[in-house]
């Protein structure tokens, strides 16, 4: 899986496992985890909820973080986010 410009997605500094948990839980977990990370750090939220594909990017847009892309997994996908200022 590659991000914008064909570059590989950066590796996450933190992985949040939200498998089996419906939206908005993955977004809430993301919002809880981000303040503890440094600006520019990358977090991956793993979700198999069909709404995560839309809601993680929308959350990033609303809260000033950068959505980097999704890495497919056997179940669901890992959605990578870079913390904004």
């Amino acid at each position: 899986m590659t991000g914008p410009g064909g570059l590989p997605l950066p590796q996450p500094d933190l992985v949040l496992d939200c498998l089996g948990r419906p939206c908005p839980v993955p977004v809430i977990e993301l919002a809880r985890a981000l303040p503890a990370l440094a600006v520019g750090a990358v977090v991956e939220v793993v979700s198999d909820d069909p709404a995560a594909q839309a809601d993680v990017p929308a959350f990033c847009r609303m809260r000033g973080h950068s959505y980097l892309g999704a890495v497919p997994r056997t179940v669901g996908a890992g959605f990578r986010v870079r913390r904004g200022a």
């Binding site: 419906p22 939206c23 908005p24 919002a31 809601d55 959350f59 609303m62």
Partner: protein, 375 residues
Amino acid sequence: MPPDRVLLDAAAGLPMHPAARDALVAALDDGWADPAKLYGAGRRARLLLDGAREALADGLTSSGGQGVRPDELVLPPGGCAAARWAVQGSRRRAAGHVVHSAVEHSCVLLAADEGDATAVGVDRLGRVDPAGYGAALRPDTAVACLTAASHEVGTLQPVEQVAELCAARRVPLHVDAAAAVGRVPLPGGWSLLSADARAWGGPSSVGVLAVRTGTRWRAPLPGGGREDLVDLPAVVAAAVGLQAVLAEQDRERARLGPLVDLVRARVAALVPDVEVVGDPVGRLPHLVTFSCLYADGEALLTALDRRGFAVSSGSSCTSSTLEPSHVLVAMGVLTHGNVRLSLHRGTTADDVQRFLAVLPGAVAEVRAAAGAQGL
């Protein structure tokens, strides 16, 4: 329903318009016979049916766009059937290609997906780019579908621009006008236009499909559209309801438009981390959708219901399939914590003010229950 209950979900169905109800009751007595029969009761039924078809055609004609003649109308059994027949009757071969926007009603999407179909994406406001839509047309495209306005977010589509591109490529354009009829003037340039009597306060058993003369289309069922199969009293009620709603359209538009403007402005000011979606200007006058970050849609509907307000949601937890609204996904907006209000002739300014008064508390309660306060 207790008297203090406020229905703000007209797009999902609303009580029958009083004029349509009166017409239905009268037509149950006068219009029970087969209009094809040559005895007295049959002749009365024929007169009623002809009058109803004329009133429906007049109503669509007076809604703007282009003229509709009574002989161009087909009356499928419901709005969804009207949209489906538009697609199925245009796709003569099973392989016929269909172009549609990504925000069409699921009735259109299901019919399109019976064969080869191309979805055209939309922008953040839910609007197709006409040039992008035109680029999806192919020599083997049997029909192109574009809704006049989304029933989920209210955004109006650039139908007439797309109609020009379709005409240049000789592709018939189907416009799903279910959410627009009786609310806004209709666009022109279409070959097929479908509508739903339920959406204007008529019976749910009546769909209307206008097929412009010369369009390559045939009824998709053996005997489809045969007039002895129509629910005549319901068709009469639909026609009378349409005339009544169109007579009220300008007044209701002027009354409800500012209430929706108020909701759009106040929701964004009253609730933190909320996104009001859809085109703020080119939209239906009575419908507004917003999404609340960190809020569970089902819990939010329940919290609002407890406070006396019936609203709708495009969030996955409120759908039978547990999939989020394809319209919200196509727009790239937040799908959870979604609320849709659709106002109607019974909605008062006081209803809207009271909704705005209880909304912040309902959202805060739902967020707190999910442990999402202070994020």
